[in-house]
């Protein structure tokens, strides 16, 4: 393997991780920006997405069944949580939200154990994306390229919706000042609900997409949670730009940290988080100045 292609592959690794983190964190950050809600159970929704993805794929024999089912089921679960719990926690302050959703993590972990067992389970990639592809002499797993592509697609769609459509304008208004937006005739509640559903669906999608690469196990949501929170906080909560910047920073720091500074790799993202917060106490691109 040539030097050039080695670094190209590592860059792709960084990109792939960044996209996965993006899918996971964008929902979390927009929900925070709009609803001021800190949802630690977001990681558990990701795990649920992975489990649903695997179960649906196993039952039907098609990866795409899981790919389609996971966002829907997770969004439905999100709706139940929203109506049953989170709606009434909206004004309860970040600490109570953190704790309620921490409780949810506990509940979810045991539900996963009861339904899917203690042992990790896995699934295979779709036939369409098995094997490896060659790009400019660089060989890379096709499925990972698919993840990169999907992440970029979601990123582009969200950016377009937010900047170019009526709906996007309303969401931005809501993030800026929800009371003002309500005065301007925006049905804020409806928008909140919609955004919450989309955020959950994206977490579910991330789970289904991650399932063939990582196995699904009860603690997977808790494991990914910290990285996701770091992405969101480093980027600055509530903004798409922040989620993108945070994902890339964390994804690349983690990838190149393991390559270049293997001995401090596990410290690196925490150091990054601490550093950003010391100098920018509300993250790099906060939704509100």
């Amino acid at each position: 393997m040539s030097d050039w292609s080695y670094w190209a592959v590592q860059t792709l690794n960084g990109l792939q991780l960044s996209m996965l983190l993006f899918l996971l964190s964008v929902g979390l950050t927009v929900i925070f920006g709009l609803l001021h809600f800190v949802n630690l159970a977001h990681g558990a929704l990701y795990a649920l997405g992975a489990y649903i993805g695997i179960s649906a794929a196993t039952a039907t024999g098609s990866y795409w069944a899981g790919f389609a089912a996971a966002p829907v089921v997770v969004a439905l679960t999100g709706i139940l949580l929203y109506l049953g719990l989170m709606k009434r926690m909206r004004r309860a302050g970040p600490m109570n939200q953190v704790l309620v959703t921490l409780g949810l993590i506990f509940v979810f972990v045991d539900i996963f154990r009861l339904v899917w067992g203690d042992i990790a389970i896995g699934t295979v990639e779709p036939a369409l994306f098995t094997g490896r592809s060659e790009l400019f002499g660089v060989v890379y797993p096709t499925y990972r390229l698919f993840i990169i592509g999907l992440g970029a697609l979601v990123m582009a769609v969200l950016a377009l919706v937010l900047s170019r459509t009526q709906l996007g304008a309303m969401i931005r208004a809501g993030v800026d000042n929800d009371q003002m937006a309500a005065c301007l005739g925006v049905n804020v509640e409806k928008i909140f609900f919609l955004v919450f559903c989309v955020g959950c669906a994206l977490a579910g999608l991330a789970g289904a997409v991650a399932a063939p690469v990582f196995s699904a196990h009860p603690d997977m949501g808790t494991e990914i949670l910290i990285s996701t929170l770091i992405v969101v906080v480093v980027g600055g909560m509530g903004s798409l730009r922040g989620a993108i910047a945070g994902s890339f920073l964390v994804g690349f720091a983690q990838t190149f940290g393991t390559v270049l500074l293997p001995h401090v790799a596990s410290l690196l993202i925490y150091a990054l988080l601490a550093l950003v917060l010391v100098f920018r106490p509300t993250g790099l691109f906060p939704a509100r100045a």
């Binding site: 393997m1 080695y6 389970i121 797993p141 990972r144 393991t258």
Partner: protein, 387 residues
């Protein structure tokens, strides 16, 4: 007359046993296992294996079981151990899965002279510099399962390896044991990396690095979900096509191999047990496990079974109290499903065969284990152990 009296007594004792086995039990066994947390499945396998051995010996009614969840946390494990020894007053302890828990309970077990049958935790030091006459290991030591692979791989034409393992004590011991043996046999380790323990999900960066050193083989130690992720990603990155993946056999344990899927085919590992061993003892065992628990036994099931079996053998030899059980345990020797086993009097670690196996697709399309070679009676050096 006498006959009927005896009969009545026998009936009565059965009735008592049925009514309250706790009060009628002759022995108390404390299971120190993870029933929740990342190793819960391992804990369950060990427990099942242990119960099977008791059942086989017809001793279920004579033994009262106390089960405590270590949660894979050393302080919790220690607290539970104290409870079982001081309050429940168990005669023997079985467990733990995690070496961390074993390290935590070692001094306490030694001081209270409570026999502990180690049913998994492989830390070398437990039967090395920190050995104890009360700690008998019937599972394996980290170096025991890996050392034989050094010579075996060189013998099979592998000249250079790249190694990977999680960055914690077990990972380091497993890899070091292999690497030392491999180098001694004339091989070359071209690269070595330790990945952050339990936080590494994406092995991409490491795999690219391994690939760039162009080794004959990659040798790793991973278990649990890390094993599944690693095996799948190793395949996805295409390394498997021209670089065989070797490893400590936990990598493709029957417990995870289904989750790994076709990516596991062709992976070669060394382990103290595989369910496809062609011996009468193993066949009977596999059948019994399938009948009772409806699954293929894993190495953990066998460890649980041997923990139970060695306890049974110790009792059969006439041991009745803690001290006697501790004395009797190291003397047991029998043919286990995994082959002939005995306890090394110098370290209290098990002496057993290590099997080199390849994961292959069976006739029914399911993944299975193909035996490639057997290294017999592998025994650890005392490593500072004085019993």
């Amino acid at each position: 007359m006498i006959k009927t009296v005896t009969g009545a007594l026998v009936c009565a004792s059965f009735a008592v046993a049925a009514a309250g086995p706790a009060s009628a039990a002759d022995y108390k066994v404390g299971m120190l296992l993870p029933y929740s947390g990342v190793y819960a499945a391992l804990g369950q396998d060990i427990d099942d294996g242990f119960m099977l051995a008791l059942e086989e010996a017809g001793m279920v009614d004579q033994v009262e079981m106390v089960r405590e969840d270590t949660e894979v946390k050393p302080p919790v494990g220690l607290a539970k151990t104290r409870k079982m020894v001081l309050e429940d007053q168990v005669d023997v302890l079985v467990g733990p899965v995690s070496s961390g828990v074993l390290g935590a309970v070692r001094d306490f077990v030694d001081q209270t002279k409570t026999p502990l049958i180690v049913a998994n935790a492989g830390n070398d030091a437990a039967t090395g510099e920190n050995c104890s006459p009360y700690i008998v290991r019937v599972s394996f030591s980290n170096s025991q399962v890996n050392r034989p692979m050094g010579q075996w791989m060189v013998d099979n034409g592998v000249k250079s390896v790249y190694t990977l393992a999680p960055d914690y004590a077990a990972g380091q011991q497993q890899i070091t044991a292999f690497a030392d043996a491999f180098k001694e046999a004339g091989g070359e380790v071209v690269g070595q990396e330790y990945t952050p323990f339990r936080t590494t999900q994406d092995f991409g960066p490491y795999l690219s690095q391994a690939q760039s050193t162009n080794p004959d083989a990659v040798y790793v130690f991973y278990a649990g979900s890390e094993a599944i992720n690693f095996v799948k990603q190793y395949d996805a990155f295409g390394l498997k096509d021209n670089t065989t993946l070797y490893g400590s056999g936990f990598l493709t344990s029957p417990l995870y191999v289904d989750a790994e899927g076709p990516a596991a085919i062709g992976v070669i590992g060394s382990l103290h047990y595989i369910p496809t061993l062609d011996t009468p003892e193993n066949k009977a065992f596999v059948e019994a496990v399938q009948k009772k628990y409806d699954r293929v036994p894993s190495e953990y099931t066998v460890q649980g079974y041997d923990a139970g079996r060695s306890f049974v053998e110790a009792i059969k030899s006439g041991a009745t109290d803690k001290e006697a059980i501790a004395k009797a345990l190291p003397t047991v020797s029998y043919t286990s499903p995994r082959g002939p086993v005995s306890i090394d009097p110098a370290t209290n670690n098990i002496i057993q065969n290590v099997y080199v196996y390849e994961t292959v697709e069976g006739d029914d399309g399911k993944l299975t284990q193909k035996l490639l070679g057997t290294v017999e009676n592998v025994k650890d050096a005392p490593n500072g152990c004085e019993l």
